[in-house]
């Protein structure tokens, strides 16, 4: 908007501020259609990776987890339970321990 209007103002020799120029012409919105990129990154293969790949990647990409700091097993368990209880992640109960163990092995506090 600024970019389109300012040259016009210059052409007409109008001494005006961008704010005045902007309010003279109402802004019109244009349709938007985009494709968002996604990641097919899987969790590193090690015991338990099938469980975390199958349960966690529907709602978020793996990079979120891999960017987390090292945390204790207790902290990882709290995260997994938050996903289940607060965000309704449909994780089979038999997979919960496997996922917590996987995360603790991969990114456990030293």
């Amino acid at each position: 908007m600024f970019r389109k209007l300012l040259p016009i103002a210059v052409l007409l020799g109008v001494a005006t501020t961008p704010l005045v120029a902007r309010s003279a012409t109402p802004l019109e919105l244009k349709n938007v259609k985009i494709d968002l990129p996604d990641s097919d990154q899987m969790f590193p293969a090690r015991p338990g990776s099938d469980a975390i790949n199958n349960n966690c990647l529907a709602c978020h990409s793996a990079d979120m987890v891999l960017n987390q700091p090292a945390m204790s097993k207790q902290a990882w368990a709290a995260e997994v339970n938050k996903m289940i209880n607060n965000y309704k992640a449909p994780i089979a109960s038999e997979d919960v321990g496997t996922i917590v163990d996987y995360l603790t092995a991969l990114k456990g506090a030293k």
Partner: protein, 453 residues
């Protein structure tokens, strides 16, 4: 660990992507489903998931995932964020439509951080590098302006269904510069570290917001006596059907204060889709969690909002600086609310070298939080003495304000440069960092190590 998945740009893959975008939608889906497809694996291996995630949601997720599900062809270069204990590596991505180079914190749902050097270029953050934060992965990617409507309903005299034309041309227009900052901006610097989006300092930005007053919209509907809060909802949806839709509420008096806006433009242009096109709530001086994106539903409530995102999520300890000791429990929690002052140097990073005994210009940005900037001071003797910087033009009390100073480091060696904003309410940045388990509201006095050579 953070460098996993880094791949060089692959021209052949980029070409494939361009071809695919010209394919009819049905074919595109077929072509782009990789083997094994994450969603197929999920559906085949997981009966529970199959039953709880609807077909529509899966298809929408698959469609949204269509571009680069198979490989990160768009992974280009890396940046190291100075997060204590790491992981510090992040990709710089240019794969998101309408966005320039961004720090990739999470691909889906997108968490994109503004590279910090952007803040040195001026007080307004360009739309294409304004940070991005979504909670749920089902984000509409096709918005037709003549079909979009905003509903105002609930405890009102008259339910409204407003078109974008109604909003752009039927109500007084307002312009307001304001900082939008994630509650968890700088979370990655918390020690001990806490889980969440591991941002450095780039989950913030300042824009000139253009739109209409929320008050005018509420008045048009006619708020009934007894209204207590107003709840805001956008078009994004959770992948799991029974997960809580993202909604936030403001008290009725706040909603009607004449400052809270519904914006249809930022920096003179329509919003990038991932920043909330076509409408976004603007809550000046409050954390960005309240700035609901793709706003399409406003509900006036006659009872306090008990929805998860208002009552449980985004709460802070009711203590000074929202700070507690790690492990401390039994603390009263309240919804996060007003922002607090911050300031940053933008033309020199920690570890930077300057010439000894020569004047050096240091500059940066500051904001007052819920009010303007009164002063920005610096210290090079670990806070024993403070010196006032020169403030740049005041573009509005809720926006960024530039500051600048000249200093001369007398002798070679290591120096610590501290910068501290005091806002117009007299609140200064604290000397010590705060801590809370969610990693919210960091605003410690910033410290930069400089070496004079």
């Amino acid at each position: 660990m953070g460098k996993a998945g880094c791949a060089p740009v692959n021209v052949a893959e980029s070409d494939t992507r361009a071809d695919v975008m010209n394919e009819p939608v049905g074919r595109r889906f077929e072509v782009l489903c990789p083997t094994p497809n994450i969603l197929e694996v999920l559906m085949a291996n997981h009966g529970v998931l199959h039953s709880m995630i609807t077909r529509r949601r899966l298809l929408a997720a698959a469609s949204a995932a269509s571009v680069a599900l198979s490989r990160p062809a768009w992974a280009q270069k890396m940046i190291d964020l100075p997060l204590p204990g790491g992981p510090d590596g992040r990709q710089i991505t240019t794969a998101f439509p309408q966005k320039g180079p961004m720090i990739l914190q999470r691909t889906r749902p997108p968490l994109l951080e503004t590279p910090f050097e952007v803040f040195d270029k001026g007080t307004f953050t360009p739309n294409d590098q304004f940070y991005v934060r979504w909670h749920w992965a089902l984000i509409p990617t096709d918005v037709e302006t003549d079909k979009f409507t905003l509903t105002v309903r609930g405890h009102v005299n008259q339910t409204l269904t407003l078109s974008l034309q109604d909003i752009l041309h039927g109500l007084p227009r307002v312009d307001l510069p304001a900082v939008n900052q994630c509650s968890g901006n700088s979370r990655g610097f918390f020690q001990p570290r806490v889980p969440g989006g591991e941002w450095a300092n780039g989950a913030m930005g300042n824009a000139l917001w253009t739109g209409v007053r929320l008050k005018d919209v509420l008045d048009k509907a006619g708020v009934k006596a007894g209204a207590v809060q107003v709840r805001f909802k956008g078009l994004d949806e959770p992948v799991v059907a029974d997960a809580p839709h993202f909604m936030k509420s403001l008290d009725i008096d706040h909603a009607r204060d004449g400052e809270v806006m519904i914006a249809y433009a930022m920096n003179g242009e329509q919003l990038p889709l991932v920043n909330g096109f076509p409408l976004r709530l603007v809550v000046p001086g409050w954390y960005a969690t309240y700035w609901v994106k793709m706003l399409n539903d406003i509900e006036v409530l006659d009872q306090p909002d008990s929805n998860y995102w208002t009552k449980v999520a985004y709460t802070i300890p009711d203590t000074p600086h929202a700070s507690i000791k790690p492990g401390e429990t039994g603390v009263k929690m309240i919804p996060i609310n007003r922002m607090v002052p911050r300031s940053f140097a933008t033309n020199i990073a920690s570890g930077g070298k300057v010439n000894t005994a020569a004047p050096v210009t240091v500059r940066g940005i500051a904001f007052g939080g819920d009010c303007g900037v009164e002063r920005v001071d610096f210290s090079i003797d670990r806070g024993q003495s403070w010196h006032q910087t020169q403030l740049g033009k005041d573009e509005g009390k809720y926006g960024f304000r530039q500051w600048q100073t000249q200093l001369t480091l007398p002798a070679p060696g290591a120096y610590n440069f501290l910068v501290r904003c005091t806002n117009s309410n007299g609140v200064a940045q604290p000397e010590m960092p705060n801590w809370n388990p969610a990693g919210f509201m960091r605003n410690v006095t910033e410290s930069i190590d400089i070496v004079a050579v």
